[in-house]
Symmetry: C2
Subunit: 197 residues, 2 copies
DNA sequence: ATAGGCGAGGTCAGCGGCTGACATCGAGCG
DNA sequence: CGCTCGATGTCAGCCGCTGACCTCGCCTAT
């Protein structure tokens, strides 16, 4: 057993707590160290002191371990959009969801950068990211519909909002960028308004 | 050998022409008949009168066979956007690309519906579709940049355009819908303008 | 206290997607 | 006629992922 492994399960027995968390940590570390393709699930499990089979009990596939937070994130945004004043326009309610998102990311910039460095060089992972974003878009559209917005207005507004997030996020993680995510998103939203006309 | 197989390689020797096309046809047919997950690559190859190894020489993976047209489509849209009058706004150039797309799809509605029926029930295939759409968005953004549009305006405009296409496409393939795709897209674009304000 | 439930984890076998290495076929060309 | 060359075939093997079944040890009810 390598020295690195010890940091993960020194003295851990079969029932050491938080196996799921250990798997997530081991996976991200290995993906960063050697790349996603060069990491096998057996290696992740070994570093976490578990077996390959157990990895698949916690995560549906090798990619999903990087997208665990998506559900929480979605709930955060949906709640924010739903909590917007009744008089708020669809776009304003969506902007409220973006604000909640920005707040969350700005506190976790290091993690976001690490994670992004893995995803940005792997098409399979980009695919997974895109479908999470699409499901998020659909959730926001559903929230807007509950607020009385019709179709296709609800879907188009949600897509515009997530589109602004996506473009802003790319700028936020670009080397040399110092502005905060919510500032970039606000700027992006204004730019979108200017260009759609 | 089944009767169905004969339709694909009746009398075909090793060098019968258009192996690639036969693989694509066999794949779509099988995906429609039994579903994507229930179809093995070996079965596709067998129906096309080839071997599994040959399938992977033509297509990078089992999903890619459904997305062969993406490059052509991208070229079509990029050309249309680049050919827009110099005086056209970014959004107008993007709308020209959408027009080209609409024309193409309206002539192939049966194929589009068949293909969509397979993709719509399979998350893996949706992931692939989304990344193709994202690459298409990036290509249009690049074209807009060549037309002198800055960032983030170029990316935001391209995303809005593809967003309109995506929403409109969903409506176009919905049961009971009778309008043409380009009509739906024009309507979507107006709706987007109304909601972004 | 102890039996048994039960949930987290382990073991084993196997399928199918995908790849590298190497052999073979057949068309066209000198 | 023999050669080259691109398309295909053959074979072996890794790894992602799954089903079926077993084991461990905590918790609770009696």
């Amino acid at each position: 057993m390598s020295a690195a492994d010890l940091a993960y399960h020194r003295g851990m027995g079969r029932w050491e707590p938080n196996g799921r968390g250990r798997l997530a940590q081991a996976a991200l570390d290995l993906y960063v160290e050697r790349g996603f393709d060069q990491t096998t699930v057996a290696e992740i499990a070994e570093r976490a002191g578990l077996t390959e089979r157990t990895f698949f009990r916690h995560y549906a596939d090798k990619r999903e371990v990087l997208f665990d937070g998506a559900a929480t994130l979605q709930q955060l945004m949906v709640d924010a959009a739903a909590a917007a004043p009744e008089a708020a326009s669809p776009l304003e309610a969506t902007a409220a969801a973006l604000d909640a998102l920005g707040e969350m990311f700005d506190g976790r910039r290091d993690f976001a950068l690490r994670r992004h460095s893995v995803i940005s060089v792997n098409p399979e992972l980009q695919e997974r990211e895109l479908i999470k974003l699409a499901r998020l878009t659909e959730a926001i559209a559903a929230t807007l519909r509950e607020r009385g917005v019709g179709e296709p207005a609800a879907s188009l507004t949600a897509q515009a909002g997530i589109g602004v997030f996506h473009v802003s996020f790319q700028r936020w993680v670009a080397p040399g960028e110092t502005r905060k995510l919510d500032e970039l998103m606000r700027e992006g939203l204004e730019e979108l308004k200017a260009v759609i006309r």
